[in-house]
């Protein structure tokens, strides 16, 4: 960094001085700053980001908010000798969202459920992006028979009935833990990502700057990871954002039908599944997790749309 602070650097050249009027200096912004500014201009996306931040913070600080231990064990929160009035009780100061059929605080279950739902959504997104981006990159970069084979696998995956596959996979592999649920959801999610990344690579690989980089002696791996992938970052980030929402829904579907996480673990899907029996007695127990899923996924989609606009190089604004 010394070299940057050499005193003569500023008076190096008259040309630079002419190029950089104070007005231009003020306008100069980093790449990230430009993207951020464009994102902020999209009100809906900003609202989504704010609401989602609140949800994530509440999930992270669930133990503090609900005065539970960090390792939440729903079994411990069941009152020892519940009175009938403690079960399926309506909202009160002690239980802002009421209690469930065993007398557990529903608000606590919702917040700890949020932890699991978000965790599953994010981790399965990461797994799906890593698999999808790698295979998509290989298919797009090498083309030929490799591309053919990989893309036919993708086609086959996308042609299978989605829910059926989800259920069959979980019957075969799932033992009701978070890890297996994440993997099963990721297996469903990667083909779409692979397609997007392949498309980006196909469009990018004939760019002249890649030929120029090849003349410098860069190998395939270097080209793919350092030179093409960053150029495809925009669509991948957008896809990742939308995937989190989609994966949260998939987790809920699985758990709702009893194929995903098993009680007493809590997730929004588990809550939905358990609560359907009590729809007449306590409809809030269905509405609340359903509403939480709706809001969260909506936030992810709004943010995804906002990012899509912000990252689109065709919308270059000054």
């Amino acid at each position: 960094m010394e070299i940057l602070q050499q005193p003569d650097a500023s008076q190096q050249s008259g040309i630079a001085a002419i190029e950089l009027t104070p007005d231009l200096v003020r306008k100069r912004r980093g790449q990230l700053r430009i993207i951020f500014d464009r994102f902020v201009r999209n009100r809906a996306a900003v609202a989504g980001a704010i609401v989602l931040s609140i949800i994530i913070l509440m999930a992270i600080f669930a133990p503090i908010i609900t005065h539970q231990t960090a390792t939440y064990d729903p079994a411990n929160t069941i009152p020892d000798h519940p009175k009938p009035s403690d079960l399926l009780a309506g909202p009160s100061w002690a239980h802002p969202m009421g209690t469930d059929e065993l007398g557990r605080d529903f608000f606590a279950r919702m917040l700890f459920g949020a932890q699991v739902s978000l965790l599953v959504g994010f981790s399965s997104m990461l797994v799906a992006i890593v698999i999808g981006a790698s295979l998509g990159a290989i298919a797009g970069y090498y083309g030929g028979w490799i591309d053919n084979v990989l893309m036919r696998v993708v086609d086959a995956m996308l042609a299978l009935p989605y829910l059926l596959l989800l259920f069959v996979l979980s019957i075969i592999f799932s033992n009701g833990t978070v890890g297996t649920v994440v993997l099963i959801i990721a297996i469903l999610a990667w083909p779409a990502t692979a397609r997007i990344v392949r498309g980006e690579f196909l469009a990018l690989k004939h760019q002249e700057f890649l030929m120029a980089t090849r003349t410098l002696g860069a190998g395939d791996l270097r080209l793919i990871l350092r030179h093409i992938l960053p150029n495809a970052a925009g669509p991948i980030i957008v896809n990742a954002t939308l995937l989190v929402g989609l994966n949260i829904i998939n987790e809920s579907v699985l758990s709702f039908f009893g194929f995903g996480l098993t009680p007493p673990q809590s997730s929004w899907g588990v809550l939905l599944g358990q609560s359907q029996t009590f729809f007449n007695a306590a409809p809030r127990m269905l509405y609340l997790p359903g509403f939480a899923i709706l809001i969260t996924v909506l936030c992810f989609n709004l943010i995804g749309d906002g990012l899509r606009d912000a990252l689109d190089p065709h919308l270059t604004l000054r």
Partner: protein
């Protein structure tokens, strides 16, 4: 002096659905250390394919080097494996492309791109590498390099980007620099600056240069020798002065006649070469220029050998284009002889100004 690069009988073909395109048809030339040669020809004459074949940068399939050798430092580049080639690319031989607008990665800072060859070929890391990158930018005339090194390509003008490309190309002190139409996408004043820069670096670094262009004016000032290519063949080769003073191939005559001349504004119409370059799927038998050639004779149906017509001067033509009888015959077919102005051609005028 021993040549650093010898290309012998290079043939590159593209296999397409419609047939085989013979883009380069047995090109041979050599290049001495520190020498600059210009390869001149119109679009599709095989100049770029020749240069890309040297570094084996054409995708196979469809492209294929079917014959020939490219000897560089006692190694035949056509037979090296990918790993060894990568050491040569950017290290010993580097390339500058036509369009500086699209030759830099838009999402990488200039510095990062400049550091690539420094890391890859010189093995320098960290501060030392960074300092070298700054020095390179300064050497190619980027003002305020300490600050500009953190810029993105879109923050640079076309000429500045080409300077950056040149900095990247010379980063690892290559023995050979291939410049594929380095000035075509730039405006004229910037063109001259970039050519000056290449000429100056060539002297300082003692690098050999292959300059590919369709513009005779560009090579006139900088090249030691010129190869004229047509339809994948080298049709004429000569030292630069000799070629401009004594062009011997009808195609070279056509090229020279089609250079606009400042001393001729509004007097004569600008000459063009009638017809179009041959369809490389079905090139004509014999001399490929024969269908467009005012000097064509019956013998042109068979391929002409390289005829030595002067000092290091060879032309692949059956006809002596300096013979008065031949000129008379060509005139009847619309040939207009070149008029030397003050005893010199446009290229030479330019050269003497420099």
């Amino acid at each position: 002096m021993a040549p650093i690069l010898e290309v012998k009988g290079l043939k590159t073909q593209f296999r397409t659905r419609d047939g085989t395109i013979k883009a380069v048809n047995g090109v041979s030339f050599d290049l001495d250390e520190g020498e600059t040669i210009g390869i001149v020809g119109e679009s599709g004459s095989g100049k770029s394919v020749t240069s890309l074949s040297i570094l084996r940068l054409l995708p196979t399939p469809p492209a294929e080097i079917v014959e020939g050798e490219v000897l560089f430092e006692d190694k035949d580049l056509t037979e090296l494996d990918e790993r060894d080639l990568r050491k040569i690319r950017g290290g010993k031989i580097s390339m500058i492309f036509q369009d500086p607008m699209s030759s830099l990665n838009p999402v990488m800072r200039i510095g990062q791109q400049l550091l690539e060859p420094i890391n890859l070929h010189l093995g320098l890391k960290g501060d030392v590498a960074y300092r070298r990158a700054v020095e390179l930018l300064r050497a190619v005339g980027i003002p305020d390099p300490e600050r500009r090194i953190r810029g993105y390509p879109h923050e640079f003008s076309g000429g500045m980007r080409q300077r950056v490309m040149i900095a990247i190309a010379i980063a690892a002190n290559p023995k050979l620099l291939i410049a594929d139409e380095p000035t075509t996408a730039l405006d004229v004043t910037v063109q001259a600056q970039i050519l000056d820069l290449i000429g100056q670096l060539r002297k300082e670094l003692h690098t050999s240069v292959i300059l590919i262009t369709h513009d005779l004016g560009v090579v006139a000032g900088i090249a030691d020798r010129i190869l004229v290519m047509y339809a994948g063949h080298i049709v004429e080769r000569a030292p630069t002065d000799e070629l401009f003073a004594n062009p011997r191939h009808p195609y070279t005559l056509g090229l020279l006649a089609s250079v606009p001349r400042l001393d001729d504004v509004g007097v004569n119409e600008l000459q063009t070469i009638p017809g179009a370059p041959p369809d490389m799927l079905n090139p004509p038998a014999g001399c490929p220029f024969q269908p467009r050639c005012p000097f064509a004779i019956e013998k042109c149906k068979t391929f002409p050998p390289d005829v030595t017509v002067g000092r290091e001067h060879k032309s692949a033509c059956w006809v002596d284009v300096t013979a008065p009888a031949e000129i008379e015959r060509a005139k009847q077919r619309g040939f207009i002889p070149l008029r030397p102005v003050g005893g010199s051609f446009i290229g030479e005028t330019q050269r003497s100004v420099q």
